[in-house]
């Protein structure tokens, strides 16, 4: 990762302690525009905590985070979104009594900082992209699970993030639905960095050229997708049956 230019997003020693437990432990991460990174690891590996640290839900116990060279470690969520880091949450967070269009309009107005008419035009594009154009006038609370997931993604994209964080946006979907989401993620890669946490290998393989593995709060692997994927250590970490692990007990 010897960067020619400064990376878009840079995390150094990012740590979050909950009591005595380090949910993420000194994680370093460089993201460049155009990167699409799959993030995997067993449950409790610290993937969601890392995304929460990047999105601003949690303040890190230690470490620093810069976006385009600017320190954003202490920025609260709304300021983080405005500066260009947005996340689609694992459990869709919609404004149920607002319409689908209004749901997407808010991040375009406040996150991307667009004017009203510009935002309306942009939202029309985003809703078309995620396939919600026909439902634009519906209340968000009336949507089904797939559409709620689409709306969650639309809201994140509407903020025009340079770093897009995806937290298990395909979980609970059927295979054709996952394929639809994959196509969407592929179309979003240009001009931004994407980090996608997902337990569905084929979804990540089809969309990401980089794979990062976390275990027990620490980053264990980070590299070209195929290389990391073929790594024999990966299976043992992911399945939790490492040889030396059992040997040590």
């Amino acid at each position: 990762m010897a960067g020619v230019a400064a990376p878009l997003l840079q995390a150094r020693g990012l740590t979050k302690n909950f009591g005595a437990i380090a949910a993420t432990d000194a994680v370093d991460l460089d993201l460049n525009s155009g990167d699409s990174v799959g993030l995997i690891g067993p449950n409790g590996a610290g993937k969601s905590t890392l995304l929460a640290l990047l999105a601003g839900d949690h303040r890190p116990s230690a470490g620093a985070l810069t976006l385009d060279g600017t320190d954003i470690t202490r920025l609260p969520v709304h300021a983080r979104v405005r500066s260009g880091v947005a996340r689609a949450a694992q459990i869709p967070q919609s404004f149920d009594r607002l319409t689908v269009r209004e749901n997407a309009l808010l991040p375009a107005l406040f996150g991307a900082g667009l004017g009203r008419s510009e935002a309306e035009g942009w939202i029309a594009e985003v809703l078309a992209l995620v396939g919600l154009t026909e439902r634009a006038g519906m209340l968000a609370g009336a949507l089904g699970l797939l559409d709620r997931k689409r709306l969650e993604l639309a809201k994140a994209v509407a903020a025009r993030p340079r770093v897009l964080l995806l937290d298990e946006i395909a979980a609970g979907l059927t295979e054709p639905e996952i394929e639809a989401i994959m196509e969407l993620v592929l179309s979003l890669r240009e001009g931004r960095a994407i980090v996608w946490v997902e337990h569905i290998p084929f979804a990540l393989r089809g969309t990401c050229d980089r794979l990062m593995v976390m275990d027990k709060g620490a980053k264990t692997h980070d590299g070209a997708f195929a290389e990391v994927w073929e790594n024999p250590e990966l299976q043992s970490i992911y399945m939790g049956v490492s040889d030396d692990h059992s040997a040590s007990h």
């Binding site: 709304h78 967070q93 404004f95 149920d96 319409t99 107005l109 406040f110 006038g137």
Partner: protein, 321 residues
């Protein structure tokens, strides 16, 4: 931004306020002033709780603060009473900002109850303060003289125009980007922050604005009363009126509080005329609140609007209905 008919409504409201103030008899004006004050108070509480999603059980603090500020500034300075009245919401709104910054450390129910404690503390402080007349309170004597003429006429004109202006203003506000953000706040604060909305800042704005409006309404009321005491100005009955009117009428709707005010005051006047006591009135109001919340949890106005076959789903339109 503002639509032609809304400007027309403002003009009509102004004309009605002036005509009413000059033509209506003094006795009816007192009642109308009270109705308008209750409506203004309820609409402020509705904006905070029904639209911005922040429940305060202590907004009576701002009724008392507004009224005491008015009495003190009018009595102790040579400033004209109506100028003092105009400055009251500004002063109380500014005081509400640091108060909000402290109180926002409490969340949800803790914040709501914490505000109640603030109101009780202010009542006790006012009762202990000799320079505020202690428990016996203050008489309104602008510049040291008894108030001449019929202040209720001016109070009515101001309150009536404010009521119309508030309805129009809130309609316009809900169409703006901040209005949309306010509705988002009520729905989901975490998602609002993720959309780039400064949740705390927006809450603080609503807290200060509703404090200012509540203070103005309180000051208007106590001009007609001419007398203020801590037990009256900071009493929880102000809050009960705001909540009853908003919740029974329809929380999170603009028309609901108007309907609620008519019910609250209309029932009181009717029951008094029929010879019922104040205690019996509150029993009936309590029962009414229970029945309404069981049959129409969102309040009467949304239930009526739904019955009229309103099938439109638009959200801002619905809340404006």
């Amino acid at each position: 931004m503002i639509r032609p008919w809304e400007i027309a409504a403002l003009a009509l409201g102004l004309a009605a306020a002036i005509c009413g103030a000059t033509l209506i008899g003094s006795g009816s004006l007192f009642l109308l002033c009270e109705i308008l004050v209750i409506f203004l108070l309820a609409q402020m509480w509705n904006l905070l709780a029904g639209f911005a999603g922040q429940i305060s059980l202590g907004h009576q603090a701002f009724v008392g603060l507004g009224a005491y500020t008015l009495f003190l500034a009018a009595n102790e300075t040579a400033l004209p009473l109506w100028l003092v009245l105009a400055l009251v919401p500004v002063a109380v709104g500014l005081v509400a900002i640091p108060l909000g910054l402290v109180m926002f450390h409490l969340k949800h129910a803790y914040f709501a109850v914490g505000m109640w404690v603030v109101a009780e503390i202010l009542m006790q402080l006012a009762a202990k303060a000799d320079w505020l007349g202690g428990t016996s309170g203050l008489v309104l004597r602008p510049g040291g003289n008894m108030l001449a003429g019929e202040p209720e006429r001016v109070v009515f004109a101001i309150a009536a125009f404010c009521a119309v202006a508030l309805m129009v203003g809130l309609r316009v506000f809900l169409r703006t980007r901040l209005g949309l953000a306010t509705l988002a706040l009520r729905e989901n604060e975490a998602a609002a922050a993720s959309a780039g909305i400064d949740v705390r800042g927006l809450h603080l704005m609503h807290f200060a604005l509703t404090a200012a409006g509540t203070a103005l309404a309180g000051a208007l009321y106590y001009i007609t009363a001419l007398y203020i005491s801590p037990n009256d100005a900071f009493q929880i009955n102000w809050l009960i009126a705001m909540m009853f009117v908003t919740v029974v009428g329809g929380i999170g709707t603009l028309t609901g509080p108007a309907l609620g005010t008519i019910i609250l005051i209309g029932a009181r006047e009717a029951m008094t005329a029929w010879g019922f006591t104040g205690g019996q009135y509150w029993i009936v109001m309590g029962l009414l609140a229970v029945v309404v919340l069981l049959l129409a949890p969102r309040g009467l106005w949304p239930a009526i609007a739904a019955r009229r076959g309103a099938t439109q789903h638009a959200t801002t339109e619905e809340t404006e209905a």
